[in-house]
């Protein structure tokens, strides 16, 4: 069974640009989660999608947005990039939107802002 896959592996942008990160969940999983792992800050929850809808959002500005497609894959979009957005962006998936289900992670997209 294929795990969560993310693309690209690395992404280099400059301040003010826009970035799009992609995630394919484990087959059969309907929930997709995005987290930011910045140096020294641990993993911070960004967004949760299930069945195509945004279910919950972390404490991040509106320039962080995303969507989930009918095949349950997801995109994370970050507009007006700032230097502090440099981080590893991790996607996770789980079988359904109920609680008590482990989230399984991909290996992330390393976003570097120059």
């Amino acid at each position: 069974e294929a795990g969560v896959t993310q693309s690209p592996t690395h992404l280099i942008k400059t301040r003010g640009q826009q970035a799009t990160l992609r995630c394919s969940p484990i087959s059969g999983h309907t929930s997709v989660y995005w987290y930011q792992q910045a140096l020294g800050l641990g993993l911070q929850f960004l967004l949760w999608y299930d069945e195509g809808e945004e279910r919950n959002r972390g404490n991040f500005p509106p320039r962080f947005s995303g969507r989930q497609f009918p095949n349950y894959s997801s995109e994370l979009n970050v507009n007006a990039l700032e230097l502090e957005d440099s981080a590893l962006y991790l996607c996770a998936s789980s079988p359904w939107r109920g609680g008590n289900q482990p989230q399984h992670f991909g290996d992330g997209t390393r976003l570097s802002i120059l």
Binding site: V4, S31, G42, L43, W48, N56, R97, N100, Q103, D107
Partner: protein, 112 residues
């Protein structure tokens, strides 16, 4: 604020010894807890989980203990191996649904 904290940021053990990684959580309403292992350049890997109606759960070489009275979680790794070297995170599931709150992580270093 919300937090899941770890007592020890680094832990160094001898190969073959047992390791214990501790975690304190702050939200008494949390009812599900997960331990993850993150190796360099990779995403967090699920190790074991426990629900709040349990106080102990065992896996292969790992045991998680939950003490709801003092809001404490621990991960025990038996016969620690060099391949266990990684950063270990605890995480709790909140009543807000979906969102996991992660601890800061403990780096486990296994000396041969």
């Amino acid at each position: 604020g919300e937090s899941v904290g770890l007592h020890l940021p680094t832990l160094s053990v001898q190969e073959g010894d047992n390791s214990i990684i501790n975690c304190a959580y702050s939200n008494s309403a949390s009812d599900y807890f997960i331990w993850y292992k993150q190796e360099s350049g990779k995403g967090p890997q699920f190790i074991i989980d426990i629900r709040s109606n349990m106080d102990k759960r065992q896996g292969q070489r790992v045991t998680v203990l939950l003490n709801k009275t003092v809001k404490h979680l621990s991960l025990q790794i038996a016969a620690t191996q060099p391949g266990d070297s990684a950063v270990y995170f605890c995480a709790e599931n909140t009543s807000q649904g979906g969102k996991l709150i992660f601890g800061q992580g403990t780096e486990l270093s296994v000396k041969p």
